[in-house]
């Protein structure tokens, strides 16, 4: 059946079909196809495709589909293995309450405080507005005094960082909620190079309660009697 013979390629070892072993010469002499005999070019049979293979493909396609959907992380570029959904990534992000309060505080500051104290907390010397950046009042160990200033306002004159600020009035901001005040102060105490501890809403609430009978603004001398820290 097979007309191909190894011996054609390796004359030293003639196959059974070539008793002489002198293949090249013999083949030349026969003149026909150069040196080598060979089978006809290959053909392909027509056996049916096994149905089981199609079944296997279908099953695997289904599996691949399910696998992809389960592991695709909703095709969201922010979802990496082993997370499976965007919500999961959000959940896995550690919540830092202080940082969140600070972010909130920036908004409050920009809306309420920055008009006078300037967005960069430098204050305004000409208008007698003291700076917040580097201010010893802001950086005090505890926030007891600045919470009171925000709640009830302040009547100067005031000394900050060695400079005198004349008789200007800071209006009370008791319309802000405890959370907003705590946030704004946390932001102020941790910005522009300031690095003092956060302010808790509970603290603001307690002071608001304690000073609810206070009439008018604080004066610096009054404030200095209040301990910085409990």
């Amino acid at each position: 059946m097979s007309r191909e013979n190894q011996a054609d390629q390796f004359p030293e070892n003639p196959g059974p079909g070539h008793p002489t072993g002198d293949i090249p010469a013999a083949a030349m002499a026969s003149g026909a196809m150069g040196l080598f005999t060979e089978n006809s070019e290959p053909t392909a049979g027509s056996a049916e495709l096994p149905v089981l293979l199609i079944g296997l493909l279908v099953v695997l396609l289904y599996w691949g589909d399910v696998y992809l959907l389960q592991n695709s992380g909703e095709f969201n570029p922010k979802v990496y293995y082993p997370y499976r959904s965007y919500d999961q990534v959000v959940m896995m992000n550690p919540i830092d309450p202080v940082a969140a309060r600070e972010r909130e505080g920036r908004k409050v500051f920009d809306l309420v405080c920055s008009a006078c104290h300037m967005p960069s907390g430098t204050g305004n010397r000409g208008n007698n507005v003291p700076p917040l950046a580097g201010s010893e009042w802001v950086l005090a160990e505890g926030p007891n005094r600045i919470i009171r200033i925000v709640l009830n306002g302040l009547q100067g004159p005031l000394e900050v960082k060695g400079d005198q600020y004349g008789a200007n009035v800071m209006t009370p901001f008791n319309i802000l909620t405890d959370d907003q005040i705590a946030a704004a102060l946390t932001f102020v105490r941790h910005s522009w190079g300031n690095n003092a501890g956060p302010v808790n809403p509970e603290k603001v609430k307690a002071i608001r309660e304690a000073t609810k009978d206070k009439d008018g603004s604080w004066s610096p001398d009054e404030l200095k009697k209040i301990p910085e820290k409990d």
């Binding site: 191909e4 390629q9 293949i23 080598f36 006809s40 053909t43 049979g45 056996a47 493909l57 592991n71």
Partner: protein, 729 residues
């Protein structure tokens, strides 16, 4: 029989404009010079590549071996070896086989022989220029695309000419119906220029941004094997098994099914190389799904070959070519199954970054491709030269030697890799100790390569000793006058349906399959992660990542040029996947955001050294890095890293001369000389210090610690250094 319009001829053949099939001897004569050129240079590149691979493998267990200059460093020798094997040997041998098969199956002589010879010469020039470039340090750094930008266009142009000739020849075929092999060959000839040009364009000429480079690279390497070299090998196997057994291939419908499933799924599987890598979850998941589906085409091919071979008795299978092709086919099936297996997430957790990946590539390259192509060579070359092989005994030795060598190489690397992977994932195992413990397997690997080289030298002896190749030069004999009577018409029985005989339709399908992954694995992620911008960090409003300072960027060039990526990865896998986190290689997984300003992005695929994604935070001392580069063993006892002494200058101190302030403070240095880092070493150290991925990002959250709340390391700038080297972590 000779009449083209004979009723027994398959439909379509009679419609051919040229009609008359060309006699076999005439076909072979037309192929002689171009194909011989490709074959001879392929074999020479194989020997050259094996020698380079041998040197590289010796360096794995003896880092001091040939360690004098940058040219011979492992990071350059190893890619040079792979490029010689891939482009010099496999691609060229494959092209030769493809041309021969296309002519034989189309029953037509080769058109445009002179352009083909020119193109063949240029292909070799391109490979030579590329390998020279890699050794000279111009490597692009991308796996299997290391050839610099002055070499790859030569290769592409040479290929364009060869491919064009092949397509013209295919189009002019006298036998219109297509055989199975032709599908694979036409597909490969079309796929190669696409993947090669697209990958070069997106990585070298107009680089994609950030981690997209790693995606393109993985897509390329996967397709280079799976859609360029493998289809040619498969085409040859599908040709020779029925041809040499004298039996028809078991089933054409089965082959068609296997072909299309292979075409559709292979090109989607590339990103299984990046499981755990810095890619959004859906990208590796898509590749893993396709990877599972690869069972179907592999099963189809295996069934078809097995059932064909079964119809004939063993005696008919003694033919040397058939033996080689059968071995090649076995290696193909083994490689396919191995790829599926290592593409599973649980397996990849162990085998990723180990010698197993190397074993897999050698199984494909030397096992599947080299054995198959040698089978073809043994069959084709005598027909081209009209000279029989001088010695069957030597040829059988060549085959035995090569086969044994491949078995040794693959087994040694797989065992080493499995052991290495198991130990790597055990965070208590010391890194240096576990790397050293793979050395005996490395020795076995070297022996395997040596055996393989011996086999190839034997092959060279077979050809050269009888002036085998040169004999052809004297053989400008006229073609036998009339080949018609010898011409074996394919049986009229094509079997059942006459499907898949149309060139244009085949082309459309081939186009569509690759286009699917081009769209899905390259375009979609480009829209998602390819256009990322630096993000503002919550902690301190700084932008991340910051661009590298100039010196560190120069250091990145040194890192690329020396091929550090051959042994060091730059990616941290997520906590709980592998032990990257426990080993302290990173404080969180790396994500696409981390690589925004890297050029090139070198994620790495092997960890013979520790991961460097976060080295700038782990070891902040520049002096430590410099001393480590000069003498790795002095800072990391037992380290297998070769010393990079050529990055330093040794100066003799004159009497009374003060030491340079930059000189390394080595304990064992003679007092009369000093070691001063060259600018390259300083830049490399600056680059290493700039490697940070320790900032918490939304997509890669980190547990709250005091370091990252205040933003300890928020820039990529090198940390200031102190003079006392702290111990390495």
């Amino acid at each position: 029989m000779s009449a083209p319009s004979s009723p027994t001829v398959a439909p379509g053949a009679g419609a051919s404009p040229a009609g008359r099939p060309v006699p076999v001897a005439e076909i072979d004569a037309s192929l002689r010079w171009p194909v011989l050129l490709l074959f001879v240079s392929a074999v020479l590149w194989l020997v050259f590549g094996t020698i380079l691979a041998l040197i590289a493998s010796i360096k794995l267990h003896g880092p001091g071996f040939l360690n004098g200059s940058a040219w011979l460093t492992y990071g350059r020798i190893n890619p040079a070896a792979m490029n010689a094997l891939l482009y010099g040997f496999a691609s060229q041998a494959g092209l030769g086989v493809a041309l021969w098969l296309l002519c034989r199956l189309g029953r037509v002589g080769l058109c445009c022989q002179a352009p083909l010879i020119i193109a063949g010469v240029f292909w070799n020039l391109g490979v030579a220029a590329g390998i020279f470039g890699i050794l000279a340090g111009d490597s692009t750094g991308f796996q299997w695309l290391e050839m610099p930008r002055y070499a790859s266009p030569i290769l592409f142009a040479a290929y364009a000419l060869i491919g064009l000739c092949a397509v013209i020849t295919f189009h002019a075929r006298r036998e219109r119906p297509l055989y199975v092999s032709q599908w694979y060959l036409v597909a490969a000839l079309f796929w190669f220029p696409w993947i090669y040009s697209a990958a070069n364009y997106l990585l070298v000429f107009r680089p994609a941004r950030g981690v997209m480079q790693a995606v393109v690279n993985a897509w390329f390497t996967n397709n280079f094997l799976g859609l360029w070299l493998a289809p040619i090998g498969l085409g040859a196997i599908f040709y020779f098994i029925p041809k040499l057994t004298g039996r028809p291939l078991h089933s054409r419908p089965l082959a068609a099914f296997g072909f299309w499933t292979l075409a559709f799924f292979t090109n989607w599987t590339g990103l299984t190389q990046l499981i755990g890598g810095p890619l959004p979850a859906w990208l590796p998941a898509a590749s893993q799904a396709a990877n599972g589906l690869m069972i179907v085409p592999i099963l189809c091919a295996g069934m078809n070959w097995f059932l064909t071979l079964q119809t004939t008795d063993r005696q008919n299978q003694e033919h040397l070519t058939l033996r080689l092709v059968r071995l090649g086919a076995t290696c193909y099936l083994a490689w396919g199954l191995m790829s599926i297996f290592t593409g599973l997430r649980a397996v990849s957790e162990v085998t990723h970054f180990t010698y197993v990946t190397v074993a897999q590539n050698y199984l494909a390259l030397l096992g599947f491709l080299a054995l198959t192509f040698f089978g073809c060579l043994y069959y084709i070359v005598p027909r081209l030269t009209q000279v029989a092989w001088p010695s069957e005994k030597l040829a059988r030795w060549h085959v035995t030697c090569s086969t044994a060598a491949i078995a040794v190489i693959v087994i040694a690397l797989t065992m080493a890799g499995l052991w290495q992977g198991a130990k790597l994932n055990n965070s208590t195992a010391d890194f240096i100790a576990l790397t050293r413990a793979t050395l005996p397997w490395g020795g076995l690997f070297t022996l395997g390569l040596l055996l393989f080289l011996a086999g190839q030298l034997l092959f060279l002896k077979i050809t050269v000793s009888q002036e085998f190749v040169f004999a052809a030069a004297r053989l400008r004999r006229a073609v036998p006058p009339d080949g018609d009577q010898l011409f074996h018409r394919r049986g009229g029985a094509w079997g059942g349906r006459q499907t898949m005989n149309s060139g244009p339709l085949l082309f459309l399908g081939i186009f569509a399959t690759l286009a699917s992954s081009f769209w899905g694995l390259l375009l979609l992620p480009q829209l998602q992660i390819g256009r990322q911008e630096p993000v503002k960090l919550e902690a301190n409003d700084a932008l991340y990542p910051a661009n590298r300072p100039g010196q560190a960027r120069q250091g990145a060039e040194v890192y690329r040029s020396l091929g550090c990526v051959e042994c060091h990865s730059q990616q941290v896998r997520p906590k709980g996947f592998g032990s990257d986190f426990e080993r302290g290689w990173g404080e969180r997984r790396t994500v696409a955001q981390d690589y925004l300003y890297d050029q090139p992005v070198l994620l790495g695929s092997l960890r013979l050294g520790p991961d460097l994604a976060n080295i700038g935070a782990r070891q902040t001392n520049a002096i430590w890095h410099l001393i480590h580069l000069y003498q790795p063993k002095s800072t990391s006892p037992g380290s297998m890293m070769p010393p990079y002494a050529f990055l330093f200058e040794k100066r003799q101190l004159r009497w009374g001369e003060a030491r340079s302030p930059d000189a390394l403070a080595l304990t064992d240095a003679p007092s009369a000389e000093e070691i001063v880092p060259r600018p390259e070493a300083e830049a490399l150290a600056a680059y290493l210090l700039s490697l940070h991925s320790d900032v918490p990002l939304f997509e890669a959250p980190m547990p709250l610690t005091k370091t990252n709340v205040v933003g300890a390391a928020t820039t990529n700038a090198p940390t200031t250094t102190t003079n006392s080297p702290p111990p390495p972590k």
